[in-house]
Subunit: 100 residues, 2 copies
DNA sequence: ATTAAATATCGAATTTTATCGATATTTATG
DNA sequence: CATAAATATCGATAAAATTCGATATTTAAT
């Protein structure tokens, strides 16, 4: 875990928003069209719609968040579902608490 | 207090290091040449020496940290002493804990 | 009043980030 | 297998961050 890299990932309004929204997908995102719930996370396109940014940008953002471990993904068919990695988030917060 | 702006300030190894070093100046910095202690903080030049970066860069870094409220300064004669703003740091950490 | 020391600001060069549209890839479906 | 849908990657451009050396400013000491 690299604290500064995680801070970089969170040093952007949209990426920070996404992290917060993913705490409670029901509250923040529209339902998946195929009726699937959010138990595996939220698919890229639904996040894209919420932000209003381009698909490529959001895909890129989500990759960054994944690269530093803040989110996890599952691929199911043609969809990639993104959800928070609460383990890593806890680790990050306590490490930051400890050293800062 | 702007969470994302604070994250940007901490999204750099040197600035993060400085914040950490300032937790315990006695441990991390050489003494001030005029014999002054660290009760008001650490002067720019001593921080500059520790990092090995240029004076202008470190001055700039310290300004960024001050702009977001992570450090406070006192001017005494020709010296500017920088020290942590623990109040703000606490606020930042608990806000981050709360929303992330 | 000059000079010297500490810090801040300016201007510039380089690197990194942000962001898009276009294209490639993967998977499901007719 | 051809097509469509979802996502990922590529290439490009604009904006922001990094970092320096040079210069300006402020204060102390002669």
């Amino acid at each position: 875990m690299n604290l500064v890299e995680i801070n970089k990932a969170l040093a952007n309004d949209t990426r920070m928003d996404i992290m917060c929204w993913l705490r409670d997908p029901e509250k923040h995102f529209r339902k998946h069209k195929d009726g699937k719930g959010f138990e595996d996370g939220v698919c890229v396109n639904v996040i894209k719609e919420k932000t209003g940014m381009s698909q490529s940008t959001i895909s890129h953002y989500l990759s960054s968040l994944q690269r530093v471990g803040l989110v996890q993904t599952v691929r199911v068919g043609k969809w990639t579902y993104y959800q928070r990695n609460d383990d890593m988030i806890r680790k990050f917060l306590s490490e930051l608490q400890l050293i800062l």
